[in-house]
Structure formats: structure tokens, C-alpha cells
Symmetry: C2
Subunit: 458 residues, 2 copies
């Protein structure tokens, strides 16, 4: 084991606090040699994380000293928010060399959000064939399969044998760094099947490729959205899939590592949107960027809060006469908001994973309503007792209980119906659902509780 | 194109509403032949989705008629909540045949949560070697690399050549369905490097395997958690990685498709936990299961709501004298709750992706505090004006503004500090963070607003 420490102590190759301290020390001493020694063996993704985590000052100092080795990989791993800044500080030579090492799909991802002059500088660094491939990908709509795909697909005529293919691969000089299938093409360049490299390696040279193709074969239209691509890879456990134009001709290939990144980003976006944070945020954002990402949603929430207050203000008489109402009313609203958020989140996730469909939507709606009702009854009893005893008033307990049932039923229903409605209207169901739902539960909660109370008590 | 419709119309091979209707019709007619025709070409994952989406009655009728083809695949794609039920209704012969087709890692995933008698029935169906492999995996802790891994790794002595390896693969009869690397082992069976099949295929027969190993090589300790495995695959773009015991000897291999599933599940768990839904829920849950998954969290929220009400009740005098306070107080609390949820969600995500570390935590905390303060000042002005004009009282406007600043600052801080604290205490930061944060913002919001008001107005 001691002979291969690098194998069994990932800590040595990853970015642990010890490593960060050593790197920062080298940066502080302005010691380029020591710095680059300390970067030895670090994965570009970890160097990117380092750049995202350190202060602006340390980042600038680092970039002055850094050899720029793997600069391309590091940039494509880096937060989009930081790329322009880092590119601007990189030595142009290191930058050009770095981007030439990248696969074309990584170059596309790297340049698509850059300002034109930086984009140009990077495209100029590429060989003509790669530049052409990148520009073709950039011609496809943002967040489409065309942007995700690697142009350099490994293909073979459908009538080739294993032997022919292996010989061909041995002679090829320009194979992609990673590939998992040989895609069989008919004479019109349309993919007709995938052969895994494993099958290729374990079959006799005389075997026809078309006889060992994979059962699951799903070519991806070049205009398909990244979300749909990620879904297909996750649902059908694809490792790579050919990308085809509207005529069904192959234009590239997408591999699972890219699909995994998209899936992760989609999940992150839903998580943040549900919390009212615009999906574009990152930890390296400045205070100003952070405020900008959150203030709009708080503004929307302010409006909904004011609506709730307007409802409350309709019952000033009741509130002045029975102060208990002011004390208890937030409970009804808060319980409704939480119950609504629960069913909302389940619905948004189910829509994202396509588990909520025409065939079960009515049953799920019914379930949410019943679950809301059941929770409502339970908490009506509990809170009715507490409230009744607290203010030694049976009426208050009853009013509280009934309002609780109404609001939790409404919460369950709005939690499922609002995201479904947004989806139908082609909005992202995660977007603003939360605000709608809590507005409903606040308004209904206050109205039901205070309305009932003034009706019964005054 | 028409020659290969299956290639370019995934709709034909996926589960669209048209397909579902046809299947349900066949089920309604109790027509087994027609049913199994309609299932033709459907991916097991889609059949599983179908079973999850239809009503219990349709599912039972379907299972009576179903040929049980691909039963193993379908089961391993199925919601854990439904597996026992479906297994119970399957024809034992189809079940045994189905599980024999599965890779051992899928069998492990399938049986780990089953009741003993069903687990036994499935293990009995396996060949001895597979059964042994499955039982060894089951001996590792739940949610560990040992449970995720496929036992059947493709390996070679470190001194082999490409030619030797290819000949060996051609002669092998028991290769895994999917494999992407040949893992080189030293004489002590410790992995020392990975060779991608692409490199193997494109190198001359005389090439030594050890000369074409991949740069990034990260063996995974068998006890590592699924979350750490998913992180490693996502961070370092691994396709497959050898799993090693404490002595560094190979015990299996994990492939990216399994890591992708874990990553997706971890994301889903965080999303649901943040909303106060226990991670185990699924759309096929009954009303009772749904209530059970959500009631506990609502109960916790009820406690926090009562605490908030206790705070309010301290200011009954003020509330009875100035009804405006009852009308406006929910606004302060609601804005705080939303701002807190925003920074909380960003923090939870950053902890999950390991972007929030010792090297940037102080800066991020500072940022959240400043962003909260900035938003606080903005909404203090806006809401101070609105409140002041609404009740034509400068004092109320001022009190509202100051309370807003205090609460949004506290919201930003608690949103970042609470998840960090939970993580330090080895709790899942997504767990209960939301409740803690909103409790803080409710209490602080009501206390600051009503406290200030009674101090100034009475």
C-alpha cells in the first residue's frame, strides 16, 4: 500500500484545508515555484474550486504567479461568474495552449457566455477544424443538445466487422479523449445503432458490428433542451448518445458526464427558484450581486405580505375587541404556508422527474386534498384545545380549529394546483410557485380565522 | 429516415399518454396478448413509471396479465415503496428469471429494503457466485460504496500488454454488461491504474497497459458514503472507479450511471428536507403515508408558531391600543422568513456541493450579513413609507423600518449560521434548518416590531 499512496489517500490529490493553506502561503510569499509545486497533482476542478473560494486579492495574486498549466480545464470547471475575470488575468499564451487541449464541447461551454473580444481570443487559439466545430455548435440555441454535444463522434459504416473497426481505431490519430460507443451509420449518415467498446473488445474480429449493437439506442435531436437530454440519460441509463439533425443525420455525440452536470444544474435551479433565488447565483458573487439576485423576490413577497395585511385590516374591530385574535392569527397562516410548501415541493419535483402525468394527476390532486384535510383535522383538534385553554374561550378554540382545517385543505390544493397551472402555461413550475402558494395560505388563513371570529364573537 | 423510425421518433419507444391509454385499454379488456404487444419496445424504466402512475386497481390487473419480461429490470427501476407489493404479485418463475438477468449491484439495490422472505426468494433465484457477491455487498453498511459497487470488475496484471488484454477479453465469458476501464492490479490485488477501453482499442498490441493509464485515477474506499461517491464522480468526471478495502485491495467497481442516480437522490432529499418533507416520499404514496411524511414537520412548525404567538402576547396592550400593529406585524415576520430561506437555501446547496469551506466561510457569512442589511435598508424605506402613510403616523413608519432592518439582518445571518452549525454537529444541514430559521425570524420580527412600538407609542 505504501508503494501507491496516491491510490489510497485521495486526500493527497484533493483540495483539503492543509493543501489550501500551503497554496495560500506560497501565494503570500510570491513564490511561483513553490506555488506550482503545491498545485502538483491537483485536479483542474479543484484548482477551479480554489479560485472560487479564495478572496479576490488572493485570486489576483495567484493568477500572477500561476504557470497556467491546465488553464483550459480549470476555466471550463470555473463558475461562469468568474471566467471573464480569470481569463482577463491569464497569460494569453497559457490561455491559447489551454483551450487547444479542450474537447470542442468544453470550448463551447467555456465561450458561450463570454464577451465577444474574449470569445474571439479563444476561438483564434483553436485549430481551424476545432474552431469550425465550435462555431457550428454555437449556432444552435442556448441550452440545446447542439451546445452540449462533442462534434468528434466515433462512427463506422453499418456493414463493418469488429476487426475492421479495431484496425481503423488503431490507425486513427484524432480520437476523442473519452468515447464509449462506436455509432453505426447508414449510407445517409443516419445512426442506426451503438456498439459498446466492451462488446467490441470481447467479440471476434469476424463479428459484424450490426450484430452486437446495444438494445437501448436513443439518438437525440440536436434541438432538444438540456433538461430533456439529462432526463433521457438518467431515465435510460445512457452512457453516450448520437445527436442528429432534423434529417436524422449524425452531427455529434453527447456523453453522460455532460448530462450529469446538466442534471445537477437543473436540480440546483429548482432548489434555488423554490427559495426565491435566481438560479444564476454562486458563492463567489459579491454583496451587490447577491442583493440583486434576491431583492426582486423579496419585493414580490412584500406585495403578497401587504395583501395579507389588507385582509387583516378588514377586521380591525374584532382585533381591538379580542386581542387573542392578533396573538393567534399568525399560527393559522404559518401552518398553511408550511403545509402548502410541502405539497408544492413534492409537486415541483414530480414535474421535474416527469412522475406527475395525465395518468395520475387527478389521483395526486385528490391525495393532496385529503392529506391536507387530515392534517387540518389533526391540528384543528390540537390547536383548538391549546387556543381554547390559553384564552379560556371555547369559541376561540372552535374558530381556530375550523380556520385551521380550511387553510390546510386550501394549502394542499394550491400546493399541487399552482405548479401544475404554471407548467401548463409553459412557465417553470418552480418559479414563483412559492410566493403564490404562501399568498393564498396567508390570505385564506387570516380571512378564515378573523372572518369566522368576527362573525361569531361580535 | 422512414427506414429507421425507431431511431428518430423516441416517442415510439417512450411512455407517452397515447401509449398509456393503449396499455390501460388492453388491461381493461383483460387481453394479455394485446397488453404484451403494447409493451413491446418499452424500456423497463418506463414500465416502472407506468406501474407508479396508474391506480392500484389497474396495477393489480396489469400484473395479472403481464408476461413479466424484464421483470428484474422493471423492479430495480421501481419506487422502493412499490417493490414489495409488485414482487408479491409477480409469477415466481418470471421473478427468478428476471433477477438472474440483473447485475449484482442492481440485485443489491433491489433486495436491500425488502422483507426477509422476499429477499430470500430472490437470493435463492441467483447462481451461487452471484448470490455470494450480493451477500458480500449486503454485508457493507447501507448507503456505502460497498452497496453501490458492481463486484464483477475487469482487471489485468500491471505488466500485461494491449494484445494480451484483448485476447483475454475475447476469451472471457462472464464480462459485465457495461464496463469502461480495465483496472491494473499489482501482485497484491491493489489497483494501480485505469486504462480506458478507447485507449486500449486505439493502441498497438505491443503497448504496455501501464503506459496508457488515465491521468485521473481515484480508487474509492468500500466504506465511503454514497454522497461522497457521487461527489467524486461529479467533481472529477469519473466514468468508473475501482472500490478498495482498507488494505487497498480491489473489491469491486462503481460506474457513473449508479453515481448519477445517487447524486439525483441526494439533490431530491435536500429539496424535500428543506420543505419539511421526509426524503422517503413518492408520488405513489397513499394518503396515510403522505400524512405520516408531513405531519411531524407541521407539528414542529406548530411549536415554533406558538412560540411566536407567545412573543406577540407579551404586547397585548400595544395591540389593543394601536390596531395598526396587528395589521403590519405579519409583514416584518414574512419578509424575514423569506430572506432567511433565501440565504439558507444557498448555504445548504453550497454545503452539499462543498463550495462552502473553511477558506471562504467567514467571507460568505459577512456577505450574507451585508446583503441582509442592504435588503433591510431598502425595504425599511419602502415599507416605512407605506406603513407611515397607510396609518398616517411617522412613528409607525419608523418603527416598521427599523424592525425590518433588524429582521432582515438577522435573517441573513441565521440563514447561513444555522446550516453551518448543523453541519458541524454532523446533522444534515437541510434537515430542520428551515424551521429554525423561520422561528428566529418570526420571533425577532414580532419582538423587534412590537417591542419598539410599545416602547415608542405607549
Amino acid at each position: 500500500m505504501s508503494e501507491h499512496p496516491e491510490n489510497f489517500e485521495p486526500a493527497d490529490t484533493v483540495l483539503d484545508p492543509r493543501r489550501i493553506t500551503k497554496i495560500l502561503a506560497a501565494v503570500a510569499d510570491r513564490d511561483a515555484g513553490l506555488l506550482n509545486d503545491n498545485l502538483e497533482g491537483l485536479h483542474p476542478a479543484d484548482i477551479a474550486d480554489f479560485l472560487e473560494q479564495v478572496s479576490d486579492g488572493d485570486r489576483d495574486a495567484f493568477l500572477e504567479l500561476w504557470s497556467g498549466e491546465d488553464a483550459g480545464e480549470v476555466l471550463s470547471e470555473l463558475d461562469e461568474g468568474l471566467r471573464e475575470e480569470v481569463i482577463g488575468q491569464l497569460d494569453p499564451a497559457a490561455l491559447s495552449e489551454g483551450v487547444r487541449d479542450l474537447e470542442t464541447d468544453d470550448v463551447v461551454d467555456l465561450v458561450e457566455d463570454l464577451e465577444d473580444h474574449q470569445k474571439e481570443a479563444i476561438l483564434d487559439a483553436l485549430e481551424d477544424s476545432d474552431r469550425f466545430a465550435v462555431e457550428q455548435s454555437l449556432a444552435f440555441p442556448e441550452d440545446s443538445a447542439g451546445r452540449l454535444m462533442q462534434r468528434n463522434a466515433v462512427t463506422a459504416p453499418e456493414d463493418w466487422t469488429v476487426g475492421q473497426m479495431i484496425d481503423h481505431l488503431r490507425d486513427s490519430t484524432d480520437l476523442p479523449e473519452q468515447f464509449y460507443h462506436v455509432t453505426l451509420l447508414d449510407p445517409r449518415m443516419c445512426p442506426v445503432g451503438n456498439v459498446t467498446l466492451g462488446r467490441l473488445l470481447s467479440s471476434s474480429r469476424a463479428t459484424l458490428l450490426k450484430d452486437i449493437t446495444e438494445e437501448v439506442f436513443i439518438p437525440i435531436p440536436v434541438t432538444e433542451t438540456g433538461e430533456d437530454v439529462a432526463y433521457a440519460f438518467n431515465q435510460y441509463h445512457l452512457i453516450s448518445a448520437p445527436v442528429v439533425d432534423e434529417a436524422g443525420r449524425i452531427v455529434g455525440v453527447i456523453t453522460i458526464d455532460d448530462a450529469m452536470i446538466v442534471l445537477d444544474e437543473e436540480n440546483e435551479e429548482d432548489l434555488l427558484l423554490l427559495a426565491g433565488v435566481s438560479g444564476e447565483t454562486s458563492l463567489s458573487d459579491t454583496v451587490a450581486e447577491t442583493v440583486r439576485a434576491r431583492l426582486p423576490w423579496l419585493a414580490v413577497n412584500l406585495l403578497t405580505a401587504i395583501i395579507a395585511s389588507l385582509v387583516i385590516s378588514q377586521f380591525e374591530d374584532a382585533l381591538t375587541q379580542v386581542v387573542a385574535l392578533a396573538v393567534l392569527m399568525p399560527i393559522v397562516a404559518s401552518m398553511g404556508g408550511n403545509a402548502g410548501t410541502q405539497s408544492l415541493t413534492v409537486a415541483v419535483r414530480a414535474l421535474a422527474t416527469r412522475d406527475l402525468t395525465g395518468s395520475n394527476v387527478t389521483r395526486v390532486i385528490r391525495r393532496e386534498a385529503l392529506a391536507g384535510l387530515a392534517n387540518g383535522v389533526f391540528f384543528a383538534v390540537v390547536m383548538g384545545l391549546i387556543g381554547g385553554l390559553w384564552f379560556s374561550s371555547l369559541t376561540i378554540g372552535l374558530v381556530l380549529g375550523v380556520a385551521m382545517i380550511i387553510n390546510l385543505l386550501v394549502a394542499g390544493l394550491s400546493g399541487i394546483l399552482i405548479p401544475i397551472a404554471l407548467e401548463k402555461l409553459d412557465f417553470d413550475p418552480a418559479l414563483a410557485s412559492g410566493t403564490f402558494v404562501t399568498t393564498v395560505t396567508d390570505v385564506v388563513g387570516f380571512f378564515a380565522f378573523l372572518g369566522l371570529a368576527s362573525y361569531v364573537l361580535l
